[in-house]
């Protein structure tokens, strides 16, 4: 009877992609849970965190006896000495740094992509990205300060500066050194994100085509490639903008001091002994979020205006034919400059780590010693282990969630449900667009409220919030590009989707997966505020140790901990490169993807 019924049903009903093999529970319960689950992973902390910041911003903080809603915190914020200059500092440094980073990244692409030279740049990107911002800023300060290495070199050559000159080369009031540090750190990130989408833009073919029609290379880049490239790296760029406007650690190290940037001012309010100032800090954090949103909307409008202008120009201008070889040369110069800054920073950090005494104007330390290494090694075991566990677990969890989400995307598209990739993209980017300072304090309060604070599991969760987006962004490209016919082929041969997934899809995607893990690993290691606040100080990582040491005066210790902080992510990236090479050493097709 049932059999007969089924054949009748089959005759009448459309077959579609129903998959009779999959247990009903999996189909009806498991998969539909994936999108809300993954979204909740990072949205719940953000929502609670924002609420926990917004309430104090409007005067509600019962812990200090403030339970009346008012605009008092906002008035106090606006009247805080230096508020408007701090706001200006934030806008100037944040906007210039992010836009300059984008321009330089595009300029390097224009001048050097594709070329042997660019391949060299590409290989240097992961190590550059794995250097934590704060460590880089400190090292860069060693380089350019009035008593820094550059001036010591100059003095060594010319003897012109027996004492450090009175120049303002670091932490200048305008924020030039802060902009420099940010540009040096963000340009590689944008290049990295651009590299992920460039293959789909078919740059070589476009250049070839346009030049065969007698137009210049600049024309091709400016009007044909950049607009499409920008469209694809817009969200990473927005993340850079949000980061530059709200960064705290490097703004303290390299930014202006009186007044500092708004983010630093807010942190000072949060840290003020006068507890009422926390409501002012909360108002500032809320304002900062508003500023980021307004700037991002402004940038979107600007983009539309430029697009319209481009369209007009394309129709009306004579297309330049000249091929500007000068851009090729200057792109090389710029990349050499960036590379030198990194190598110089690393070298001087290494030198400081083995220094005993080192004064101006000596170019090399007066005496060497391994004391700092020895002292730190004595007590790094626990932070090391904690850092490692957090990093590996958060990136693995994020990887599993991301793969589930991407598989669900595939499943939905098989069912022909509309999957809005751009909406997913926005959602995933949210944690990167919302300033950490605007929700991490509130999140902490929420966790305490539910009795979940100071536990490893919630600390892991807070890391996951920031690791997840990067893991998603790194993996989604290669994962979506995977030729699903391989899975189909596998299915006709061995059946069972999960077997096909394990034996075919996963190994074929091993390289991007390992790379993704390394990225997540590096992101987790860099987390400071979440580790401190969500962990309630009970968990120390290499990064919390590094920040603690950076508040002291001992540069040798700072150098050692900064090097440790760079070593872990570097090892992760190195393994991500070496493991596939070893595993697939007899598989030529797997060695380059």
């Amino acid at each position: 009877m049932a059999e007969a019924l089924r054949s009748v049903v089959n005759k009448k009903a459309p077959a579609g992609a129903s998959n009779p093999n999959m247990p009903a529970t999996l189909r009806t319960i498991f998969w539909p849970l994936i999108p809300p689950l993954t979204t909740a992973v990072f949205m719940v902390p953000i929502l609670f965190g924002l609420l926990g910041t917004w309430l104090p911003a409007f005067g509600y903080l019962p812990a200090i006896g403030q339970s009346q809603f008012s605009l008092q915190p906002w008035q106090a914020l606006v009247h805080y000495p230096g508020f408007f200059s701090a706001l200006t500092n934030t806008l100037v440094t944040g906007l210039i740094a992010s836009i300059l980073s984008l321009m330089i990244a595009l300029f390097l692409l224009h001048g050097a992509y594709p070329s042997q030279w660019f391949n060299r740049i590409e290989r240097a990107l992961s190590p550059a990205l794995s250097i934590p911002h704060a460590a880089f800023a400190i090292g860069f300060g060693f380089l350019i300060a009035p008593s820094g290495w550059l001036l010591r070199l100059m003095n060594g050559l010319t003897g012109m500066f027996p004492a450090p000159p009175f120049w303002t080369t670091f932490q200048d009031p305008v924020g030039i050194s802060l902009i420099l540090v940010m540009v040096l750190k963000e340009t590689p990130f944008l290049l990295f994100m651009a590299l992920a989408v460039l293959p789909s833009l078919k740059v070589s073919q476009t250049l070839w085509l346009v030049r065969s029609q007698g137009h210049g290379k600049a024309f091709a880049w400016r009007y044909l490639i950049f607009p499409r490239l920008y469209q694809q790296i817009r969200l990473p760029f927005f993340a850079v903008v949000a980061y530059s406007l709200t960064v705290v650690d490097i703004a303290i190290i390299a930014g202006p001091t009186t007044p500092p940037t708004l983010a630093v001012l807010i942190l000072q309010r949060f840290n003020d002994p006068d507890l009422v100032q926390r409501t002012v800090g909360a108002a500032g954090a809320t304002l900062l979020l508003g500023i980021v949103m307004i700037v991002l909307i402004g940038l979107s409008l600007l983009q539309q205006a430029i697009q319209r202008w481009d369209y007009y120009r394309l129709c009306h201008i004579k297309r330049p034919k000249r091929h500007w070889s000068i851009t090729d040369i200057s792109a090389r110069v710029v990349s050499v400059f960036i590379g030198t800054a990194y190598i110089g920073t690393l070298t001087i950090t290494l030198l400081w780590s083995i220094t005993k005494r080192w004064r101006y104007p000596d170019i090399l330390p007066e005496s060497f010693g391994l004391r700092a290494w020895v002292r730190l090694n004595d007590r790094l075991a626990e932070p090391f282990w904690c850092t490692f566990l957090l990093a590996i677990l958060s990136s693995l969890l994020a990887l599993i969630l991301v793969i589930l989400a991407l598989e669900n995307e595939l499943r939905l598209s098989r069912l022909s449900k509309r999957v809005s990739l751009s909406r997913i993209q926005w959602l995933v980017y949210l944690p990167l667009l919302i300033p950490q300072i605007a929700f991490i304090f509130g999140f902490q309060i929420a966790l305490i409220h539910f009795g979940l604070d100071a536990q490893f599991i919630t600390l892991l969760w807070s890391h996951l919030v920031f690791v997840f987006p990067y893991v998603f962004l790194t993996l989604s490209g290669p994962y979506r590009r995977f030729d699903e016919r391989y899975s189909w082929q596998g299915l006709t041969l061995i059946g069972q989707r999960w077997k096909v997934f394990w034996r075919i899809k996963l190994p074929m995607l091993l390289r991007p997966i390992l790379y993704t893990l390394a990225t997540g690993f590096a992101v987790s290691i860099a987390q400071y505020l979440p580790t401190l606040f969500v962990g309630a100080g009970k968990y120390s990582t290499i990064t919390t140790e590094a920040v603690a040491i950076a508040t002291g005066s001992d540069r040798r210790m700072m150098a050692v901990i900064a090097l440790w902080q760079q070593t872990l992510p570097l090892l992760a990236f190195a393994s991500a490169t070496i493991i596939p090479i070893l595993l697939f050493r007899h598989r030529k097709a797997m060695s380059h993807q």
């Binding site: 230096g82 009175f166 303290i252 001091t257 309630a536 002291g552």
Partner: protein, 408 residues
Amino acid sequence: MNAAFFARTVFLRAIFSRAIGVLLFGLLLQANAADWQDTLKEAKGQSVYFHAWGGDENINAYIQWAIDQVKEKYDVEVKHVKNVAPNAITQILSEKSAGKDSGGAVDLMWVNGENFANMKRNNLLYGAFTQDLPNYQYVDTEHKPTTLYDFTVPVENLEAPWGMAQLVFLHDTDVVKKAPSSAAELLEFAHKNPGRFTYPAPPAFHGTTFIKQILLELTDDRDALYKPVQDADFDKITKPLWIYLDELHPLMWQKGKVFTDGAPRMTQLLNDGEIAISLSFNPFAASNAIATGELPDTVRTHIHASGTIANTHFVAIPYNSSSVEGAMVFANFLMSPEAQARKANTDIWGDPTVLAMDKLSAQDRARFDDLPKGVATLSNEELANVLLEPHASWVEALEAEWLKRYGQ
């Protein structure tokens, strides 16, 4: 009620309660000893999260030593959380916001001054406890009044004295032949050596202390500074300070347009030769830094002839600490002659003791006798020249005015 009268009453009341305390002390000694045994028993096996600044490896190593000691002696497991006081307060405050009135994450914290005053005002402290600690009897409350008044705020046994601090200046004898002995001479130095002095921007703690020091030196109404700022003619009293700073700033490092964020950064600048005079809150800082190679051995310490601001730093137990007994045991150990003597050793940390030598047994006193002092440290006599911290309310007012004038 006039302010002077008010201040005097507060002071008298404090003295009176102390007198009663001393009186009762003898009577309660035995009862206390029994109580202390209970505390020790309770503390056994407890975990204590001790939040303390972790920027100095000497201090970290010292704290680690103390941790090992109490583990061995009392079976109390202390963990050093390398966290600054404001962050620890944020933690406690967040817990209070969420209604977590016990089982908090901070069990003991390193604190003083304005942070203490604010915690006290907002009821974030556990309560009076130091009177129950056996080692508290050795504290030199008579000659070190800052162990009773933290920035003039009565301590009331809410925090246990840990160490003494005094503002000292560090100078490089290669550049500075004669160290300035007053605010006026410092200005003179700046005129002769433009760009070679700076101080941290308030509200950074060292910066605020520096402007308080200058104000104390320049003002002709010092008494007003020891009363709440609300009762004083702020503009009139602080006028000499602003005139002084207006003149000093253009002569400072980076023409006074860039400031450091604290004394640690100034130590680096001193080593770099960018500045020639720096400051510290630890009288042994110079000797220490020379010993580790952080500063050249041409650096020496000096203070101003009028004396310099001194205060005490403490450890306090938050109201919702999870391991009160464990925290007390650790706080008590930190005050012990053994721990205090080790702390005063410049080879280890070099932080002056809060204890009174004449209250110690001969054996304990001997621990302090042979301590190395270091090449760049002033003698005890020189350091005895001490100024008290102004009333805590001045801090905020001075910082706000400074920011208004120089911070925008």
